[in-house]
Every structure is written in structure tokens, then in C-alpha cells.
Amino acid sequence: MDIETLTLLGDSVRSWCEDNASLLGKMEHKQPSNELLNQLYGTFNSLGILSILGEQETHHEIEALAEVATQLAYHSPSIAVMVVQQNMAAWLFTEAGKSAPEGWISLPVYDAASEWRFQINHRYNQGQLSLDGRWSSLPLLNVATHALLPIAAKEGRDFQLILLPLTQNERGLSVSAPAVTLGLRACPTADLQFAQYDVKQEHILLSGEKARACTELLWSHAETCMMAIRAGIAKASYRTARDYAAQRYQGGKIIIEHSLIRKMLADFYRETCAMDESWRMMAQGLQSDQPLRHGQVGVALKSGDLLPWLTSDGIQILGGVGYMEDYIQERRFRDAKQCEFLLGHPHARTLNLWHHESE
């Protein structure tokens, strides 16, 4: 994807967000209805941003998706996560040589590849794959038509990517009520409960070592998009803080005239620039058949660590106003913390990174 197309894509998403700012704000305040989420699916599908990775996953497409994600995250990080998740699903369908079903697909984007094998119990009963346990915090589960789950063996290399249709009266399969969460409230999560659930053969989308490798590769490359989401949140929080400080008075002068505040904003801006540049450099340096380099994973983890502190400063500069729901700073702080867990537990990923290094 050339730079002009990328810019055009970014501009059109930004323009859509600005036109729909009120809707996005409402969605983030109160959990949106399934009807509204389905309408959004239709809108985004027609805009073509749900299948950017659908054709093939190259570094150009990742870059384009990350650009879309950062623009969306500036206005609504939840929707950015939904769009990235759907693209990840679209790419897995392409890998399987199948067309994706219509509607949202739920993927375990809060779990790292190293955590997949500990989510639920699975066993074979006369060659039949049977699942037990509870897979928690799956985004969009209550509205999705399907869940796409990587089922990995606790020991050995056995791997299946299964596509579960979320239909009524499916024996052994149930979904919890949406969880009340800290942030990303427009992208609700729920738990999927298995009770001796037998996976039908036609539900296995991909299996084997190659399937595992390509799914893990997708999770690795998706780090770029999650970083882009974090950068979008940081930029939004920084700009709100800067604009507020430039307009309001404190201690007899405009807030931004206090050197303490200027220094806080300067530090904030430095980190925001670094976060934005990091995902762009990472996207440009991706190799289609290789996972992220260790240094890149380190940068991604660092961005997850840093963002909650940056957005905390974003509130601090506004003072009491920043704590109120009428201003968006408090939401960015909540979203930022939840974004720390995108693509898995940060401690699990850190240990996994070191594990590969020590090997």
C-alpha cells in the first residue's frame, strides 16, 4: 500500500469519526445495544475496513490496518479494537481458504499465544475433540455470530483453530452476561462456558503445526495495531490536556504559562511522539513470514506499561474537570489500562519473551 493510499484511508476514517463523534461518545459511555453494534458492522463493512487483512497479511496491510486503528482510537479505542479483531479473523479465514461468515467474530484478543493452552481443558474421546471450562473475557461475544478460538494442547504440539457458531440451544455451550469492565466499554466482553462440548469436525478451521505458526504470527504482527491504538489514545489525551491548559486559568494566569505544566506537557508530548513513531517504524520493518523481533516485542510491552501513566497525567493537567465523565480524559485513562492487556497478560508475554531469549 503506497503512502498516498494510506493517507487517504487514514483521512477517510478520521472524517467518519468526526462526523459520528456524538454516536461514538454515547457508545463509550453506556454499553451499546447489539442492534447498534450490528449497524456498525454494516457501516464498517461497507467502508471496507473490516477486511484489510482479508486478501493477504503483508506488512503493507498491517500498516494500513494500524493507521485505521490509530485514527479510530483517537475517538473510540473500543471500536478500534473491534475493527482490528475482525481483521484478524478475516485473515485467518483467508489462511483457511474459506470465506468469513457475516457478522462480528469474537477472538480471544486478551490472551497471549503462551496462554491459549491454559484457558480450557480439551481431550479426545474416540477421536472426538471435547472441551470443558470457561474462556473468559472474549470481546463482542454477546453480539458475535461466531467465536474463533485457538485450542492448544497443554503438552505437545497439538493445535486446532475452531470456529464456533454461537447458536441457541447448542448443547454444552453457554455465554455469560456481558462483564462490567474498567474500559473499552463499547466493545463488551463475556465468558464462553464449555461443558463436555463436542467440537464437530466442520468447526475445525485450521489444525496442526502450520496452523499454530500462522496464528501465532498473526498475534505477533497484531502487536503493531495494538500499539497504534495506544498511540491514538495517548495523542488524544495529550491534545485535550494541551488545549485545556491553553484556555483555562489557574493561580492568576493561564495554566500553560506555569513552567511546571509546560514541562509536564513537554514530557507527555515526547512520549506520545515516541509511541506514534514506534508503531510506524515497526509496521514498516515487519517481515511477512517472521514474528516481531525481541526488541519490537519489548517496545510493544513498554507502550502498554507507559500509557496508563501518560493518561493519568492527562487527567492531572485538567484537575477535577479531568475526573468527570463529561470530559473524555477519564475514559482515556480507563481505556489505557485495559489496553495494557491486549494480546495477553503483560507478565506472561514478558516471561515468554525472555524464554525465547534464553533458548
Partner: protein
Amino acid sequence: MQSIAINECPPLAEPTAKIAELSFLERYPELAFYLQKDPALGRKMEAHYRRVEQFCRYHLAPHVLDIDLKLRDDPHYVPHELLKKACDYRLFSMMFPASVGGAGEHVISAFMTYEMIASHCVGVANLLGVSGLALACVLASFDPRAISKVARLIVDNEKKGIPTFLSTCVTEPGAGSDAEDADEFTHAQLRTTAKRVPGGYRLNGNKVFISNGALAALHVVVAYDADGAHRPEDLLLFLVARGSEGLSVPRNEKKMGQKVCPASEVVFEDVFVPDEMVCRTGDKGSYFAYTGIANVLGLTRAGVGAFATGVTENAYRTALQFVRSNDFLGQPMEQQQWVRIELANLARRAQVARATYVSALLAVCAKGLANPITRVPDWGVANWALTQPGIANVRDSLLDSSIAEKLFKRIAATQTTSERDTVTAYGDVAKVSCSELAMENCQRAISLMGKGGFRHENGAEKLLRDVKLLQIYEGTNQVNMLDFVKRRLPRQFSNADTLV
């Protein structure tokens, strides 16, 4: 495309791991040194500690998350049952001397109470503690008549099971953290004014983000004398009763956290305040403006330190509960060495926070605003007699007299500038350090818990929403540090007052 209804599974079972609470001296071992000299006080404090522990365990902890959820849907919800129980446990009058009908607990005990309640829900601690801020403002006026008026209202209502809240109306749309700084106060754009009229004053102005504004029976209002020149000595302090004509609370703010303690806009439109509801703040209010605010902040910022310590402890306990009930990469979390070190660090920060606020509290008791309260003698059985109708009238007449006022002001005058600066600087440090430690603990607890950390039912996400406010109220941490610079560093700089 239609939404699909599928089988619904129940929520997860609550974790069964029980957390052993700390005993009184395990939590405050440093107090053992002081209490050796006064064992009776030690026994009283410990008994109070146990009562508050019981209140938290049976009446607060089981309902905290439900209350938070209700407030998400309805910002006007008030947990009446809980507040009625707080009356039974005498949490509203705990700081008032028994001789005026209060529970007669030591100031240190009151702070421990706030810490313990905050270790379950800092919003509830704030709900009760905000009244303490208002009381501190009244106390700083050193007007015994006003103090006894407030005390009587709270004590009498508590006996009837009616929870009584106070609010402190300082912040305005153009005056935020600067209005919570003793020296910056003059720069704050406070527009609320009081015009002298026969028999009292007429108040006009808008106050915002007023904690307990919607619940308060009595508002403690800071306003400038309309006939003055907006100098510190023109500041006046008023007690305005709920229901006063012209007083309105048009809305409650929607806050990220601490939702149980409503923050409201409070509007005064030509509100008449009779002379007996005006705090006598000395010559044109100068005592309150120049020393009173600093003294109030020394006390209340230490109080925020106590709140923050409670949150720091809660973050540790919440993570511990989660760790004891969950696996990490296929192994029980509690059996992993690095997890135990993370937990140890959470506990360590709670201990550091406690030591920090207790040191500020001891300074306030020794040389600050709490000093006069700690000097009120406990007359034992005579306390009962002093609260009986006939004798109580004599007592109140004495408190209303100018003799009492002179005595109170003499006590106030014994404080030196250096002592005041030290006490307030300790308050600054307690507020900033404890709230930072609390924030660090909440962030780290959630990170440790992974995706379980951002779910409401596990408690940690509420902590993160709640904790942020501790870095904002009572002056942002930045304003606190600037105050600290002024009180502790002026001797190090030749031009400390010319900061840009």
C-alpha cells in the same frame, strides 16, 4: 442481520480464599511507643479499631461492589442502610469530645477509621471524611460557638439514627486547586461574595465539585466580603443550612470513581445567612486567611494520606485474594516466587504509606490544628452530666461566650510560623506520597491480575477509578508540591517567591 440469543451461563463463583486482617498493633506498631505512656488511651483506641473493623467486615465490605454498580446507573443513589449503621457505630460524632455528646475518640483513631473504611471503599471514607474537612474549617476559625453548633447538630442527629453530612464550599468554576493553597488563594478567581445586610449577610455565587453537596445538612462556605477588596482578610466563613431560601443543588457530577460521595454544583442566590451562622474568624477574617487555611490543609492532607493508605492496602488485599484463587500459565499463582515478591511490594507500599501519613498526623496532633482537640480533657462520668439538658445549656452558653472565644484564640496563637509550616509540609508530603503509592499499587495489582484485573467483580478496576481522585482533591499533587517548596525550601533560594 439479527442478534443471536444463546444459552446463558451463570457468573463465576466468588473466590473462597479468606484474607487474615492485621491486628491493631500489627498495623500501627509505631503507636506502641506512645501508648506505653498512656495505656488507657491505647486500650480505647484498640477497642475503637475493633468496632470499625466489625463495621467494615459486616456492613461495608459485602456491599461495596453492589453500591458501585447501583451508582453507575443512578448517580443519586444513597446507601441509606449503610449510613444508618454508621450512626449506630457513632462514626459521625467520633471526633467530638464526650462532654458535648460525641464519641470522644482521639483524632488518631478517627484517621485510623478513615484508613480502614478506605481499605474497603475510599468513596465511603470520603463521604464521611468530607465532613471532617468542613469541621476543620470551622475549627480553624477558632469560633467555639460555631464549633458547638455543628457538634450539636451532628451528635443529636446521630442519636436519632440520622446521618448528618457537612460540605465545604470552596471550589468555583474559576478557582480550583489554587483555592486549596494557602498562598495561591489570593490568585484564585473566587467570585462568591457576601453582602452585609441588617442581621447578617446575603450570599451570592456558584460553587462546583462540592463533595457531599447534595447530602449536606450544613454547608461551610468560603466567600469574600462584598464590601472588601478581595484581600485575604476579606474572606469570611459561613454555615448555611440545607433548605435555606435561595440555596440550590442543580446537579450531581458524573465522576469516574468514588461515586458514593456525590460531587455537586451548589448555587447561592441571595441566600440570607444570619449573624449567628457566621464564623467569627478574627479581625476581618485575617486569622483564617493567613493561618487557618494552612492549618486546615495540614490536617486534611494528612487525611487524604489516610484514605490513600487504605486504597494501597486494598490493592494489596485484592491482588492477594485473586492470586490465592487463580493460576498463571498452568501453575497456582500463589506458589510462584515472583508473584509473592509482587505481593510483598504491594504490602510494602501500604506500610510506607501508613508510616508517612501517621507521621503527618502526629505532627498535626502535636503542633497543628488537632492539637487543641487532643487537649480537651476526658472528664469520665462527668461527660454524662455535661450532656444533660440543664447543664448542657450552661455548657453551650459558656462556649458561646466571648471568654471561650478568647481562650480558643489564645491556644491558636501559641503556634509559631515554623511549626505551622512544618505541619503543613508534612501534610503535603503525606497527601502526595500516599496517593502516588496508592496509584502505583492499583496499577500494579491490576497488571498482576491480568484480564481479571479489569473486571468489576474482582474489585481492582474500581480501585483504579477511585484512586485517581486522591491525586486531585485537596489541591492537585502538583499544587501540594509547590506548597512544599514554599514551606521547606525558601531558605535554600534567594528568590523563592518569584517562580515562573
